[in-house]
Amino acid sequence: PAMWENLDRNFRQVQSVLDRNRSLIQQVNDNHQSRMADNMSKNVALIQELNGNISKVVNMYSDLNTSFSSG
């Protein structure tokens, strides 16, 4: 059960980040479509967050892999 719990927890964590990314992408898209100068400035921050989240997911999965293998 410990193995599964570990996996499950990891999946949920990753999924929450992925969900967040989904909405981030949506926002950036909409901002682009709006063609407003304000929104372009906002997009920089949004894209930064998105990139950070992507690498977060990468790290999460490498952790998952390590714990999975060792476990």
Binding site: W4, L7, H32, V44, I54
Partner: protein, 48 residues
């Protein structure tokens, strides 16, 4: 996979597999989107 099924059990193995496969797919899409959005952002910045 045999061994994993042994440890996790059949049902959980498939759940985990689905989760991994799905997350991998979503991740790939989002990675692509990230690249695309950055590109678009730069293009827009180039021609305000």
């Amino acid at each position: 996979p045999d061994d994993v099924v042994g440890i996790l059990g059949q049902k959980r193995f498939w759940r985990a597999r689905k989760a991994i496969a799905n997350q991998q797919r979503v991740f790939a899409v989002q990675l692509f989107e990230l690249h695309r959005l950055i590109k678009v952002q730069k293009l827009i910045a180039a021609s305000p």
